[in-house]
C-alpha cells in the first residue's frame, strides 16, 4: 500500500529532493499582556513526494508555524529562514509571496464551510484561482479545468455540480472542492491544516485516501498538521511532535510510534484509548499546556513530566539525535537509550531519573504523581 511505497522511496536516500528547509524559525506576537512566544526556534525539512506530519495540542504552535511560511501571520515578529527551492519565504515581498501562495504552495484549512465564499459558485471560486495566477487562461478554459479538477477529487456529476453554491455541497464534498482548489495550479507542496477534523470517520477515510492518491500521482510534498495520532499513523512518512512552540521530537513514523524518546510523545501515545489497553485506566498527561506568555523555566514540559530531573528546571534541551539513523531526534535530557515503550527503556529512564534528581525536581515529580487527573487520591 501507500506506506510500503514510501518506504521504498526512502531506500533511495533520505534527502533525495529537499523542497523546503526551515531553519530556526521563531515567531512571537506582542500583546498587551506580554509577548506570545508562539514558535521558538523550529527547524525541519520536507522532501518532494513525502508527507511530514506535525502533531501537537492546541497552542503548540503548529498552525502559526505553517501560516508564517505563507506570510499569513501579520503582526508577528519573525526570525529564521525558510528555503523553498532556493527562495527564502521569510525574506520575500508580498508580491513575490502572492506568486508562490496557491501556485507553488497551497493550503487546505480545517473548516470546509468557512474556507469558501458562500455567495459564489464552487466552480467560479476554482476558476478565479486559476485566472488570478494566469491571465492568459480564458474563462471557458478555466471552467473546463474546474470541472476536471472536481472530477479528479471524486465529485459525482462534476459538470453540473460546478454550478452549485457551497451550501449545496455536504461537508465532505466541500472539503473535496477545497482540495480541488488547492490542486488547481499543480502546487509542489500542500499544507493541510487539520483537513479532516470537522469530518465524520467514513468521510475522513475518503479524504485521506484521496490525498494519498493525489500525492502519489503528482509527487507533491505534503505537510499534514493534526492533533490526531491516528491520522498521522495513516498518512505521514515523518513526524514532528510540537510542544509549547518547539519541536519536542522528530522521527520517522515508525520511530515516533514504536520508539518514542520524549516523555511528551510517550504521554500522547499512552493517553489514546486503544483496543490493546481497553480494560485498563487511561494514562493521561497531568496538568495543562503552559501559557505561551508565561512559559516555565528550563524544559517547557517539566511541570507535567514524570521523569523530571534537576537540569530540566533550568536548562532547555534542544533537538539532538537519539537514534541510529541520525534523523530521530528528541529535545530531552534523558539518555539516548531511553527511547522506546518497553520495560528496558523504562528501567533506563527510572535509573537516570533517580541519579539526576534532588529535592526540587523530586517535589515536582511528587506533585505530578498525586495530581488531580484522578481526584480519588486527593
Amino acid at each position: 500500500m501507500a506506506y510500503a511505497d514510501s518506504e521504498a522511496r526512502r531506500g533511495g536516500g533520505r534527502n533525495a529532493v529537499t523542497l523546503l528547509e526551515v531553519k530556526d524559525l521563531t515567531v512571537s506576537f506582542p500583546t498587551a499582556d506580554g509577548t506570545v512566544q508562539a514558535v521558538r526556534g523550529v527547524s525541519f525539512t520536507v522532501d518532494a513526494g513525502r508527507t511530514l506530519g506535525i502533531v501537537g495540542e492546541s497552542g503548540s504552535g503548529k498552525t502559526v508555524l505553517t501560516q508564517t511560511l505563507l506570510g499569513l501571520t501579520p503582526g508577528g515578529e519573525i526570525s529564521g529562514t525558510a528555503d523553498f527551492d532556493g527562495t527564502d519565504l521569510l525574506a520575500i515581498t508580498e508580491d513575490q509571496m502572492r506568486k508562490i501562495r496557491g501556485a507553488q504552495i497551497s493550503v487546505i484549512f480545517q473548516d470546509p464551510l468557512t474556507s469558501m465564499h458562500p455567495l459564489y459558485k464552487v466552480g467560479w471560486q476554482i476558476e478565479e484561482m486559476i485566472r488570478a495566477h494566469d491571465k492568459s487562461v480564458s474563462k471557458a478554459e478555466a471552467k473546463d479545468r474546474a470541472v476536471d479538477l472536481l472530477r479528479r477529487v471524486g465529485i459525482p456529476r462534476a459538470d453540473q455540480r460546478v454550478n452549485d453554491y457551497p451550501h449545496q455541497f455536504s461537508g465532505g464534498m466541500r472539503q473535496r472542492a477545497i482540495i480541488a482548489m488547492a490542486l488547481s495550479l499543480s502546487p509542489r507542496m500542500i499544507i493541510a491544516d487539520e483537513p479532516t477534523t470537522a469530518l465524520d470517520a467514513t468521510v475522513q477515510a475518503q479524504i485521506l485516501d484521496l490525498l494519498q492518491k493525489l500525492q502519489e500521482e503528482s509527487n507533491t510534498a505534503l505537510i499534514m498538521i493534526t492533533h490526531d495520532m491516528g491520522v498521522v499513523a495513516d498518512i505521514a512518512d515523518d513526524v514532528m511532535v510540537m510542544y509549547a512552540g518547539r519541536a519536542a521530537e522528530r522521527a520517522t513514523k515508525q520511530d515516533i510510534f514504536y520508539a518514542p524518546h520524549h516523555p511528551y510523545t510517550k504521554g500522547l501515545l499512552e493517553s489514546i484509548p486503544n483496543s490493546s489497553a481497553r480494560a485498563e485506566r487511561l494514562k493521561p498527561i497531568t496538568g495543562q499546556p503552559p501559557s505561551l506568555i508565561r512559559l516555565p523555566s528550563g524544559c517547557k514540559f517539566h511541570p507535567r513530566c514524570a521523569y523530571v530531573m534537576d537540569r530540566c528546571l533550568t536548562e532547555e534541551p534542544s533537538l539532538r539525535p537519539v537514534g541510529e539513523d541520525g534523523f530521530h531526534s528528541s529535545a530531552c535530557w534523558l539518555p539516548t537509550a531511553a527511547a522506546g515503550l518497553g520495560e528496558r527503556a523504562e528501567e533506563i529512564r527510572i535509573k537516570t531519573v533517580r541519579e539526576e534528581r534532588s529535592e526540587a525536581a523530586a517535589g515536582i515529580a511528587e506533585g505530578i504523581a498525586s495530581a488531580p487527573a484522578s481526584p480519588r487520591g486527593a
Binding site: 464534498m173 465524520d200 470517520a201 477515510a205 492533533h227 491516528g230 495513516d234 484509548p273 493521561p284 480519588r376
Partner: protein
C-alpha cells in the same frame, strides 16, 4: 450530600405523581421503546405549510442497565443527539415511550417531569458554549440546587466546593469565571454541574471531542471513577469509536435515524455484522502505523443521504458494498443473526460473515 430515596418519593407524591411501581426487571434503569422523532419542514412564506418531515429518529429501542454505560455511535445527522434529547425529556417524542425506572416520561407534563429532571443530567460537547461566560463557577455548579430549591447559602457553597474538589478543580476558584479555565477544566465544571443533584443517569453528548488527547484521557478517567463511586449510568454519545470502546459496556450503532446494530461491546467491535458498522470501524484511524498499513479500509461511496427523504428499504443501501435488490425494497428488522449471542442484533438482510473482505467489494463501486 444528595437526596435520600425516601425524600425523593415524597416529593413525587406531593406533585401528584405515584411512587415508582415495583419493577419486574429492577436492573434496567432506562428503557427506550420504539421512539420516533420527526421534525416538520415548513415552507417558506406566509402559509408556512408543513411540506415534509425530518426523520431524525425512527423507531429506536434500547435499554441501559443500572450502573452501565451504553455507547451510541454514528455520523453527523444520524439522530444520536436527538435521541439523547428525547431521553433527557428536553424535546417531546413523536411517538414511542421512554421508561425511566418503569415510568413513562414521554407522557408527563412539564410539572410532572420536574422530579425526573433531577435524575437525568447532561454533559455537553462544547465546554465553551455550555457555560454562561458571565456566571461565576460557583453559581454555575450551584444552579441545579437553586432550581430545585435544595441547598442555599453556606450549605450550597459547601456542596459546590465538595463537587469541585471531587472533579479535580481547586475549590478556591469558586468565584472565578469560565474564561479563566482551560477547556479540560471547563469540562470538569460541566461534570460537576451534572453531578450536583446526584442523578442516576448522565447523558454525555460528545463530552471529550473538543478536548486535546492528553486532557481527554483525564476526563474519561474521571467519568469512569464517578461511575464506580456513585453507581452512575451513562448514555455516552461520541463519534470516536475508540473512546466509545473504552468507556462502554454495550454499543448501539445508528444510521440515518435507525439502529443498524446493537449489542455488547466485544461482539460488535470484534465481529461486526452490519456492513455500516464494519465500514465505520475500518475507517476509524488507528494510532498504530502497522495496523494502519495492514488494514483493509472499507471506503464508503458518497455521503449520508438527507433524513427528510430517507432511501426506501434499508437506509444504508445506496452506500452499501453488499447491497442487492431486496435491500432497496424491504426494510430489514433488528434481529439476532446466526451464530451471534442473543443480545447482539443487526438490521441487515445480508450480514457480514466472518472473514469476508468488504474492502474489495467497496472499491469495485468507488467510481460511482
Amino acid at each position: 450530600m444528595g437526596v435520600p430515596g425516601a425524600e425523593r418519593t415524597a416529593a413525587q407524591q406531593a406533585d401528584g405523581q405515584p411512587a415508582p411501581r415495583p419493577e419486574s426487571d429492577d436492573d434496567i434503569l432506562i428503557r427506550v421503546e420504539n421512539v420516533v422523532k420527526h421534525f416538520p419542514v415548513k415552507s417558506i412564506g406566509f402559509t408556512r405549510r408543513t411540506v415534509g418531515q425530518v426523520h431524525a429518529v425512527d423507531d429506536v429501542s434500547l435499554t441501559i442497565p443500572r450502573g452501565k454505560t451504553l455507547g451510541l455511535v454514528g455520523e453527523t445527522g444520524c439522530g444520536k443527539s436527538t435521541l439523547a434529547r428525547c431521553v433527557a425529556g428536553l424535546i417531546p417524542v413523536t411517538s414511542g415511550r421512554v421508561l425511566f425506572e418503569g415510568n413513562d416520561l414521554s407522557r408527563l407534563s412539564r410539572r410532572q417531569m420536574q422530579p425526573y429532571r433531577r435524575e437525568i443530567q447532561m454533559i455537553f460537547q462544547d465546554p465553551y458554549g455550555s457555560l454562561n461566560p458571565r456566571q461565576r463557577v460557583g453559581s454555575i455548579i450551584g444552579e441545579p440546587f437553586a432550581i430545585h430549591r435544595m441547598a442555599s447559602g453556606g450549605e450550597r457553597k459547601r456542596r459546590v466546593q465538595e463537587l469541585m474538589e471531587r472533579v479535580g478543580l481547586n475549590p478556591e476558584h469558586y468565584n472565578r469565571f469560565p474564561a479563566e479555565f482551560s477547556g479540560g477544566q471547563r469540562q470538569r465544571i460541566g461534570v460537576a454541574r451534572a453531578l450536583a443533584l446526584r442523578p442516576k443517569l448522565i447523558i454525555c453528548d460528545e463530552p471529550v471531542s473538543a478536548l486535546d488527547v492528553s486532557i481527554q484521557a483525564q476526563v474519561l478517567n474521571l467519568l469512569a471513577d464517578l461511575q464506580d463511586e456513585f453507581g452512575l449510568t451513562y448514555l455516552f454519545i461520541a463519534h470516536d469509536l475508540e473512546v466509545v470502546r473504552h468507556v462502554s459496556h454495550a454499543v448501539s450503532v445508528m444510521y440515518l435515524g435507525r439502529l443498524a446494530e446493537a449489542g455488547p461491546k466485544e461482539p460488535v467491535y470484534e465481529t461486526p455484522r452490519h456492513p455500516y458498522t464494519a465500514a465505520l470501524l475500518s475507517a476509524a484511524p488507528a494510532a498504530d502505523p502497522n495496523t494502519a498499513a495492514s488494514r483493509q479500509r472499507i471506503i464508503l461511496v458518497g455521503d449520508v443521504p438527507s433524513p427528510i427523504d430517507p432511501p426506501p428499504g434499508c437506509r444504508f443501501h445506496p452506500r452499501c458494498p453488499k447491497a442487492r435488490q431486496l435491500c432497496s425494497q424491504e426494510e430489514p428488522q433488528l434481529e439476532v443473526k446466526a451464530g451471534d449471542p442473543v443480545t447482539h442484533v443487526t438490521a441487515c438482510h445480508f450480514p457480514v460473515e466472518a472473514g469476508e473482505n468488504l474492502a474489495a467489494a467497496g472499491s469495485r463501486e468507488s467510481g460511482i
